[in-house]
């Protein structure tokens, strides 16, 4: 199954560029990307089964915990670093964003938007939200940080990241009207200011 954000992220990636996909999962995005355009890419993933899936797909994958930083990668060594729906699973949020910005000339960060109206409604009724973009119960979620479009903008600015582009989606379609209320998935293209 293709995730709604794949196409939007791929749009921001230039052909023949160097790409690093952090938290690349089973390699679905990199496989999709390479079908769209020629790129030279590596994935980084911690989970054994997902690393295996990447190898089965013939992808370059590096097994590593992102919490430890990106010491294996040199400054500016990638045209684009992708952090797709991974930011919310990482404890050291600021550290990883700094590392992403160090390694990539540009970075693409996507995350589920906690401020979507359905989530607000759920919390309003006294329950943690469970939705397509946050499909877990509070006790079994891999997400350790929940954030909103507005939160990310503020953090990016405090880390010295310039937002080059943003794309807020709901059910695969772009939301332009009050995106922090009506968008369930946020994508940002950023670089060091």
């Amino acid at each position: 199954m293709m995730r709604a954000d794949f196409a939007a992220i791929a749009n921001w990636i230039a052909p023949n560029s160097e790409v690093l996909d952090l938290g690349c999962g089973d390699g679905s995005f990199l496989e999709y990307l390479q079908k769209q355009k020629p790129v030279h890419a590596y994935g980084v993933e911690i989970d054994d089964a997902r690393v295996l899936s990447c190898v089965q797909k013939g992808l370059n994958v590096i097994q590593q915990n992102l919490e430890g930083g990106l010491a294996l990668f040199e400054n500016n060594s990638f045209d684009t670093v992708v952090l797709s729906q991974t930011l919310q699973t990482i404890h050291e949020t600021e550290k990883i964003l700094r590392e992403v910005a160090r390694v990539g000339k540009e970075s693409i960060v996507s995350f589920p938007n906690f401020a979507h109206w359905s989530h607000r409604l759920s919390v309003g009724f006294g329950r943690m939200p469970v939705s397509k973009s946050l499909p877990y119960q509070w006790y079994n979620t891999p997400n350790v940080r929940v954030l909103t479009v507005a939160d990310f903008e503020k953090l990016a600015s405090s880390l010295g990241l310039q937002i080059l582009d943003q794309c807020i989606l709901h059910e695969g379609r772009q939301v332009t009207l009050m995106p922090n209320l009506f968008g369930s998935l946020a994508l940002f293209r950023v670089r060091r200011a």
Binding site: H40, Y42, D48, Q63
Partner: protein, 379 residues
């Protein structure tokens, strides 16, 4: 069930071999075993490089002794991760070894006597040169893969540097780009055990009809400790005392074998000293010490690996303290820096360095997937 198609040959090389040390070996033999069938365009060959005390006998039963199963039999064979129904696998016994290839026990044509101490010091790069000549003889221009664990991984890495066009894939498992001071220290203790054995006779013990068994036993005991993890030893032996059934677990207040782990080490050391050659142990540990491809590039592994063309799979094991994951990451880091094709897996296995020889599903599935992918790309 398909067959392994094991075949063993001794191949003679008459052309002199210049060694890294400056010495020249006038001619030499290599013993090889092959498994599976070489395809028509000779594109399915996989070279397996062996580790310290292993040999050409990688898979299946030894034709001379059915109980002697190849050291990587769980990895290589029909339907196994390195599937000999598709790949033609070559196990080669390294020069200087004591399992049939020319080594210190062989006759030196210059003197008519066994080489003994006169056998020249060999490096990993020398081994790779002999293996490339072997490939020439077999008509293999490019290996589908060169692979190895530990010292075998160093050979695979050296292959990618010395003959970048001659291997499509390079698998470096539980290895390191160079030994640490601690690694060299352990090797030195092992060598010293051998060198100080009264039966060593400066390496010419063959003439005296003796073997420096005590030294070899000690060397192996030291080495063996580094192959296992602390947890693994605790699990296997704990502080159990070596006592016959029913006898109370009380201390004897002596220096004889008291603990199970001591008994295990003695057993491993004794076994080793009956089949391994002391001069070979010295040579191989020295080859380990000397290996450092970055040396001729001012210490830069990035530069040493700048010309590699092979696609890499690097694998380490979390509890390996001989060559811990950090050492494998150095290789990965340099490959990444050069934008080489590389995948890296860090297997969380409890068995220490020896894990690369053991049957761990995560590890074996990974190798299987990697080789299956090779076939898919080929076809």
């Amino acid at each position: 069930m398909s067959e392994l198609h094991l075949s063993r040959n001794t191949i003679h090389f008459a052309e002199p071999l210049p060694l890294q040390s400056g010495a020249i070996l006038s001619g030499y033999d290599l013993v090889i075993e092959t498994y599976g069938k070489l395809n028509a365009d000779k594109s399915n060959a996989v070279l397996v490089c062996h580790a310290l005390n292993a040999s050409h006998h990688v898979a299946g039963s030894n034709p001379d002794d059915a109980k002697d199963i190849g050291w990587w039999d769980n990895m290589i064979g029909p339907g196994k991760p390195v599937d000999t129904d598709h790949f033609f696998v070559i196990g080669v016994n390294n020069l200087g070894s004591c399992f049939g290839s020319t080594g210190p026990k062989s006759i030196n044509p210059a003197s008519g006597k066994q080489y003994g101490a006169d056998f020249p010091v060999i490096t990993v790069e020398d081994w790779v040169n002999t293996q490339a000549r072997l490939a020439d003889k077999l008509g293999i221009r490019r290996f589908a893969a060169v692979m190895g664990g530990s010292l075998g991984g160093m050979q695979a890495l050296a292959w990618s540097i010395q003959f970048p066009k001659r291997l499509a894939h390079c698998l470096v498992i539980a290895s390191t780009p160079k030994l640490s001071a601690q690694n060299i220290a352990f090797n030195e203790v092992a060598r010293n055990a051998i060198l100080s054995d009264p039966d060593f006779h400066g390496g010419n013990y063959y003439e005296h009809g003796v073997v420096p068994k005590r030294g070899l036993r000690l060397a192996r005991m030291v080495g063996h400790i580094t192959y296992l993890s602390d947890d693994d030893m605790a699990e296997k032996f704990g502080r159990e005392l070596q006592r016959p059934n029913g006898e109370p677990q009380d201390y004897r207040f002596s220096f004889d074998v008291e603990f199970e782990v001591e008994s295990y080490l003695h057993h491993q050391g004794d076994k080793f000293s009956t089949y391994f050659d002391a001069n070979t142990y010295l040579l191989i540990t020295r080859a380990l010490d000397y290996f450092d491809p970055s040396r001729r590039y001012g210490g830069s592994l990035n530069r040493a690996l700048a010309e590699v063309q092979a696609k890499f799979l690097v694998v380490s094991f979390s509890t390996d303290w001989r060559f811990p994951p950090n050492r494998s990451r150095e290789i990965v880091e340099s490959l990444l820096s050069n934008k080489s094709e590389v995948s890296y897996a860090e297997i969380d296995a409890p068995h220490g360095h020896d894990a690369f020889l053991l049957d761990d599903p995560r590890y074996h599935n990974l190798i299987r997937a990697y080789f299956e992918q090779m076939l898919e790309v080929q076809s």
